[in-house]
C-alpha cells in the first residue's frame, strides 16, 4: 500500500472540526436552557424506589490554616471561621471533621503520600517518581474509596464514576488522587469541552442516527473486546493487569452504548479559550461544576469527584490578589502577607464549594433536593503548607446521604486515622466494609460520624 500512502505535505489537512458523532452534533443542542433550573429527572421516582445516594469527592491543595479553618464552639453549637464562612448557608448540612490524620507509611515524600493516600488510605508502590530521602515512589497501591464504592453502586448508571479536574497537570503521583486499583491512576478530564462532548453530545441526536451510531460502535467494540481477550490470555502479571483494565473499560463503554439515552438538559456552555491557562482557572471550575451537577441530577453517575489543581499546586490566584499557591504556602507563620493570601485562596475555594452546593440544592428530588441525597466530601493533601503536615488534615462533608448522616455538627478527633472516614463513607453509601487501605492498622468507621 506504499504507493497509496501519501506524504504529509500533500495530505489533506486534518479538519479542525472533529466531525463524526460527537462534536458534529453539538449544534443541535447548543440552544438549550442555561444551567438552572434543572429538569428534576428523578422527581417522578419519589415514592417508588428509594432515591439513589450520590458521593462527591472534592480536593483543594497545599493545606489550610487550621486557626482560621476550625470552627469554635461545640459539636452541635458551633461557629464557622473565615475559611469556611462562605458555606455558612449550609451549616445545617455539614459535618466539620477536625483532627484526622492521614497516615503516611511507606514510600514517597509528603506531597506524594498526601495525594496518593488521600482517598486510598494505602501505601504507594515502588516506582520512578523521584521522591523522599533519595528514593522514589510510584502510583498508589490500591483503589480509592470512591472507586470501591462505584464498583458496588455504578452498575445501573451510564458511568460508574466521573472525574472532573481543573488544571491537574501531568501524569505523576503528585497530580492523581483517584485510583481504580494498584498502579491504575484515574486521570480526571481537564477539558470542559471534551467532558461536555463525552457526557452530553449524544443527547439531541436524531433517534435513527443514534441507533445507527450505536450499532456501529457495537461492532467496533466487539472487535476490540475480542482482541483484548486474546491478549489477556497470553500475558501474565502486570502486563495482564493492564489488558484487564483496558477490557474492563471497554465493558463499561459497551454497557453505556446499550443503555437508553438518559433524559437530561445539558448546561449551556461557552468554550473557545485555553482551559489550561492560569487565568481561566475560575472559569473552568464553574464549567466543570455545572457539568458535574447535571450528570448527578440526570443520574448519569452516582459517584463523582472534582480535583482543583494538584499537590504542589502553583496556581497563581491573581483574581484574589494572591501569588503562586505552593510558593506562598511554604512561607513562615510570621509572614502576615502569606497568612492573608493563603486565606484569600482558601476562601475562594470555599466559594466554589458553595457554588456547587447551591446548584445541588437547586435540584428537587422527592421531598428534598439532590444535596440531601448526596455526601460531598472536601479534603486536602496536607494539614498546612509550611509544615507539610499530615495532621490535622481538613475534612468537611456536606449533605445527608439520603438520611444516612446526622449533619450540622462539628466533630473533633485526636489523630484518628482518616481511613476510618473512608470506611464510614462507604458504609453511609450502603457499601458494607469494615476497613479500607493498608495504612490503618485498626478497622471500623469514624466514631460518632456514621454508625
Amino acid at each position: 500500500m506504499s504507493q497509496r500512502r501519501i506524504t504529509p505535505s500533500t495530505a489533506t489537512p486534518k479538519r479542525k472540526n472533529r466531525g463524526f458523532s460527537r462534536r458534529g452534533f453539538l449544534g443541535s443542542i447548543g440552544a438549550s436552557a442555561a444551567l438552572a433550573p434543572f429538569i428534576p429527572v428523578l422527581e417522578s421516582q419519589a415514592g417508588a424506589d428509594p432515591l439513589p445516594k450520590r458521593l462527591v469527592l472534592l480536593f483543594s491543595p497545599n493545606g489550610t490554616l487550621h486557626e482560621r479553618w476550625a470552627p469554635t464552639g461545640t459539636e452541635n453549637d458551633f461557629q464557622l471561621r473565615e475559611l469556611l464562612a462562605p458555606v455558612e448557608p449550609y451549616k445545617d448540612q455539614m459535618c466539620v471533621l477536625d483532627g484526622l490524620e492521614v497516615l503516611r507509611q511507606g514510600l514517597g515524600d509528603g506531597h506524594q503520600k498526601g495525594m496518593a493516600c488521600l482517598w486510598t488510605g494505602n501505601q504507594l508502590n515502588a516506582g520512578d517518581f523521584g521522591g523522599g530521602d533519595g528514593g522514589s515512589a510510584g502510583w498508589a497501591g490500591a483503589a480509592s474509596i470512591d472507586q470501591a464504592i462505584a464498583d458496588q453502586l455504578g452498575n445501573d448508571t451510564a458511568y460508574k464514576s466521573l472525574e472532573f479536574g481543573v488544571q491537574n497537570g501531568g501524569a505523576t503521583n503528585w497530580s492523581r488522587m483517584i485510583y481504580g486499583g494498584s498502579d491504575n491512576p484515574v486521570a480526571a478530564e481537564n477539558n470542559p469541552e471534551a467532558m461536555f462532548a463525552r457526557l452530553f453530545a449524544d443527547l439531541g441526536v436524531d433517534t435513527g442516527e443514534l441507533d445507527r451510531l450505536k450499532a456501529e460502535r457495537r461492532s467496533v467494540l466487539d472487535l476490540v473486546h475480542g482482541d483484548l481477550e486474546a491478549l489477556e490470555s497470553k500475558y501474565s502479571s502486570s502486563d495482564k493487569q493492564k489488558i484487564s483494565a483496558h477490557l474492563e473499560a471497554i465493558r463499561e463503554i459497551e454497557k453505556r452504548n446499550d443503555l437508553a439515552t438518559p433524559i437530561c438538559e445539558p448546561p449551556t456552555q461557552k468554550y473557545g479559550f485555553n482551559f489550561d491557562a492560569n487565568e481561566n482557572f475560575p472559569a473552568v471550575s464553574r464549567l466543570m461544576i455545572d457539568q458535574m451537577v447535571m450528570s448527578l441530577a440526570c443520574d448519569l453517575t452516582r459517584v463523582a469527584s472534582l480535583q482543583w489543581s494538584r499537590s504542589v499546586s502553583q496556581t497563581e490566584f491573581s483574581w484574589v490578589g494572591a501569588t503562586r499557591h505552593h510558593d506562598l504556602s511554604h512561607l513562615g507563620d510570621e509572614d502576615q502577607s502569606m497568612i492573608d493570601q493563603i486565606t484569600s485562596i482558601n476562601v475562594w475555594y470555599a466559594e466554589e464549594v458553595k457554588y456547587l452546593l447551591d446548584a445541588m440544592a437547586a435540584v428537587p428530588e422527592g421531598d428534598g433536593t439532590l444535596l440531601d441525597n448526596s455526601i460531598v466530601v472536601w479534603g486536602n493533601e496536607l494539614s498546612r503548607g509550611n509544615s507539610h503536615g499530615n495532621h490535622p488534615v481538613p475534612f468537611v462533608t456536606f449533605g445527608g446521604g439520603g438520611g444516612a448522616l446526622q449533619t450540622g455538627r462539628y466533630l473533633t478527633y485526636d489523630r484518628v486515622p482518616h481511613n476510618r472516614l473512608l470506611v464510614s463513607l462507604a458504609q453511609a453509601m450502603d457499601v458494607d466494609i469494615q476497613s479500607f487501605g493498608n495504612n490503618d492498622p485498626g478497622s471500623g468507621g469514624l466514631p460518632g460520624f456514621f454508625t
Binding site: 489533506t12 521522591g131 502510583w139 472525574e163 463525552r198 467496533v220
Partner: protein, 571 residues
C-alpha cells in the same frame, strides 16, 4: 561489533547520589566506577574481546556474559507516536491527540509503561479513532489501492493491507475476517455504503490493542524466564519507534518478513538507512527536548512586565531551536556529543529568537542555515535559550533548577528533593545582592549544604542567562553577573566561569558521555535501566566512548544490544 565482555562493578554507578543529606563524604562513593572500569578497546568495531570465546552477535550469551536484560513492560503508544503512526499509516497530519490524557514519563522521557488505562483514556482513543476514520474516508480514491466501485473486494484488499500495517505484523488467521465483519456491519448501518463500512472498520482497527500497544512476545516457542529474541516484526517496530518515533516503513516490514533482522548485519544496515531518513529528525527532536526537560516549554510562565516579548509562540521557536540544532549536528555535523555540547551556532529562522540571541543573520542567509553566535556567550545545547528558560523562575533565574538539571540529566546522579519542611521559595530579587548572595543560605546551612554544594555552583555558572535565556552581563538590579562556578563529584572537577567553560568541561567528561548513553538507552527502551541491564548498558557506553562519543555509533550500538533485541519470556 564493539560490545565487549566486561565484568564491571558498574551497578554502583547506577545508584547515583541517594541520600546526600547524610553527608558529603559518604556520597562520593560509587561515582564513575562504570566509566573507570572501561578497558581499552578498538574504536572501529571489530571485536577485540580478551575472551577466547567467539563472539556471535546473535547469541545473547555471547553479547554479554551471563546475558540478562531487564523486563520491558507492555507500553502504549505515546501521543507523539500515535500522531506519527497515523501520519505514516494514512497520510493524515497530526492533531488527533490534543485531548489525550498526559503521557507518563519514565525518567526524563515520555513512555506509557506503568499505569493501566482507565475508561476516560479508552474513550479518548475512541474519539480520536473516529475522527481519523472520518478524515481517512473523505476521499476514497486517494485511500484505496483499487476502484471503490468494485465494492467489497476492493474494500477487503485495502483492509488486509491497512490492518497489517496498523498492527505492524502479518495478520493471524481469522483476524482479517473479523475486521471485514466490522466493515460489513458498518456498510449495513450505512445502507450499503462502502465508505461507511470502511470508516467503521478503520475506527475499529485503530482502537485495537494491537494498534495502541507495543505488543511484544518474542519468538513463538519462547517459554519460561529465558531470554528470547524478538521476532522480526517486533524488532522492526522497536527500531522504528526508537529511530523515527513512528511505525515501520515497507522496507522495514520487508526486512522483517525476509528474516533480515535476525542477524546483526541486517539490523546495522537498517539503522544506517533509518538514520539517514528525514523521519529520524522526529526522534532527534523528541529525545533532546525531553532529555533537557523543555518539551513542554510552552506552558512555562514568564513575568509579562519583565519579558513582554515572551509567549507560547516564542517558546515553540525555542523548542524547535533545540531540535534543529541537534538534527544538524547528527545529520550534517560530525555527530559527536562534544559538538552537541559546545557548538556555538543556532539554526533558527525566527527573528524574535534572533533578538534573544542578540544576532542579526548575515545577508543572504538561506532558511535553516547555521548562524554563528557571538563569541564567548553560548556553547551547545545547555545554554540554548529554551533550556535556560525552562529551568528558571518567571521573574528570575534558578541556579538550583539548572544545577539539578546538570546533576540528574548530564551526570545521571539522582538527587533527593528538599526536606519536606524547608522553605524553598526563591529569595526575592533584591536591589543590592546578586543571585549568588541571595542563595548563600543553601551552602551556609548544614541542613541544605549536603546537596546544594553539588548543585548551586553549577547553576551559578549559568547566571549569564536570564529567565528567558537571553545572555546578560548584569543582573536586573544592575549588579555585574558573578558566573564563577565549580564542578564537583565528577571526573572533570574544577572551577569554571560561564556557560562555554562549563560546556567544554562537560564535553571532556567520560561520566557525562556514559550518562548520555544511558539517557538514549532509556529513550530507546522506554524504561529505566536496571541491574539486569548492566552488561548491555556498559557495553553500549564503552562503544560510545571509544568512538569518540559519536552519537550515531551510540544509536547503532543500542539497536544491536542484547537489551534491545531480546526480551524476557513471559513466565
Amino acid at each position: 561489533m564493539t560490545i565487549r565482555f566486561m565484568m564491571l562493578g558498574a551497578a554502583a554507578s547506577l545508584l547515583g547520589l541517594s541520600g546526600c543529606y547524610s553527608g558529603f563524604e559518604a556520597d562520593a562513593n560509587g561515582f564513575g566506577s562504570g566509566a573507570n572500569g572501561v578497558t581499552d578497546g578498538d574504536p572501529d568495531g571489530e571485536d577485540t574481546s580478551d575472551s577466547d570465546d567467539d563472539v556471535d552477535p546473535d547469541d545473547p550469551a555471547s553479547l554479554c556474559m551471563d546475558a540478562d536484560v531487564g523486563p520491558t513492560s507492555l507500553r502504549r503508544l505515546t501521543a507523539k507516536q500515535y500522531d506519527h503512526t497515523v501520519r505514516d499509516l494514512l497520510g493524515l497530519d497530526g492533531g488527533y491527540t490534543v485531548d489525550f490524557s498526559p503521557d507518563e514519563r519514565i525518567g526524563a522521557f515520555k513512555s506509557n509503561g506503568n499505569a493501566a488505562v482507565v475508561e476516560l483514556q479508552v474513550e479518548e482513543y475512541m474519539t480520536a479513532a473516529e475522527a481519523v476514520a472520518v478524515d481517512a474516508t473523505t476521499d476514497l480514491a486517494q485511500l484505496l489501492p483499487c476502484d471503490a466501485a468494485e465494492g467489497d473486494s476492493c474494500a477487503e484488499q485495502f483492509l488486509a493491507e491497512f490492518t497489517m500495517h496498523a498492527y505492524r505484523r502479518p495478520l493471524e488467521s481469522g483476524e482479517l475476517d473479523r475486521v471485514v465483519s466490522v466493515y460489513m456491519s458498518g456498510k449495513d448501518a450505512g445502507e450499503g455504503s462502502v465508505q461507511n463500512g470502511l470508516r467503521v472498520a478503520i475506527a475499529a482497527v485503530l482502537q485495537s490493542p494491537f494498534f495502541l500497544y507495543h505488543v511484544e512476545f518474542g519468538q513463538p516457542d519462547a517459554a519460561g524466564d529465558d531470554l528470547v529474541a524478538l521476532d522480526g516484526y517486533e524488532l522492526a517496530s522497536r527500531l522504528s519507534y526508537f529511530l523515527w518515533d513512528s511505525m515501520p516503513d515497507d522496507s522495514l516490514f520487508d526486512a522483517a518478513g525476509a528474516g533480515a533482522l535476525a542477524d546483526a548485519d541486517g539490523v546495522r544496515e537498517q539503522v544506517d538507512r533509518m538514520l539517514a531518513d528525514p523521519k529520524a529528525r522526529d526522534t532527534i527532536a523528541s529525545f533532546h527536548q525531553q532529555w533537557l526537560g523543555m518539551d513542554e516549554l510552552e506552558h512555562a510562565e514568564k513575568d509579562p512586565e519583565m519579558f513582554p516579548g515572551y509567549d507560547a509562540t516564542l517558546a515553540e521557536s525555542m523548542k524547535e531551536d533545540v531540535a534543529s540544532f541537534a538534527q544538524w549536528v547528527l545529520t550534517e555535523g560530525d555527530g559527536r556529543l562534544a559538538t552537541l555540547l559546545t557548538a556555538n551556532i543556532t539554526l533558527t529562522d525566527d527573528p524574535r529568537l534572533h533578538a534573544v540571541y542578540g544576532v542579526t543573520p548575515p545577508a543572504g542567509r538561506a532558511a535553516g542555515e547555521p548562524i554563528e553566535l557571538p563569541a564567548g556567550e553560548r556553547a551547545g545545547l545547555l545554554t540554548m535559550p529554551g533550556v535556560m528558560a525552562e529551568h528558571a523562575h518567571p521573574d528570575q533565574t534558578s541556579p538550583i533548577h539548572r544545577g539539578v538539571l546538570l546533576r540528574q540529566e548530564f551526570f545521571c546522579q539522582q538527587l533527593p528533593p528538599p526536606p519536606a519542611d524547608v522553605d524553598n521559595v526563591p529569595p526575592s530579587p533584591s536591589p543590592d545582592a546578586t543571585t549568588r548572595e541571595r542563595f548563600a543560605q543553601h551552602t551556609a546551612d548544614p541542613a541544605c549544604s549536603g546537596c546544594h554544594v553539588q548543585v548551586d555552583p553549577l547553576g551559578f555558572g549559568l547566571e549569564g542567562y536570564d529567565s528567558i535565556g537571553a545572555f546578560r552581563t548584569e543582573e536586573t538590579n544592575g549588579l555585574p553577573i558573578d558566573n564563577a562556578g565549580e564542578i564537583v563529584l565528577s571526573d572533570v572537577d574544577g572551577p569554571f566561569v560561564g556557560g562555554p567553560e562549563l560546556a567544554a568541561m562537560l564535553a571532556e567528561s567520560e561520566l557525562v558521555g556514559t550518562c548520555f548513553s544511558r539517557q538514549w538507552f532509556r529513550y530507546a527502551l522506554g524504561r529505566v535501566e536496571g541491574d539486569a541491564d548492566t552488561c548491555a548498558v556498559d557495553g553500549i557506553s564503552t562503544a560510545f566512548n571509544e568512538s569518540g562519543q559519536d552519537v550515531r555509533v551510540l544509536l547503532r550500538e543500542i539497536a544491536l544490544s542484547s537489551a534491545f533485541r531480546f526480551r524476557k519470556g513471559e513466565a
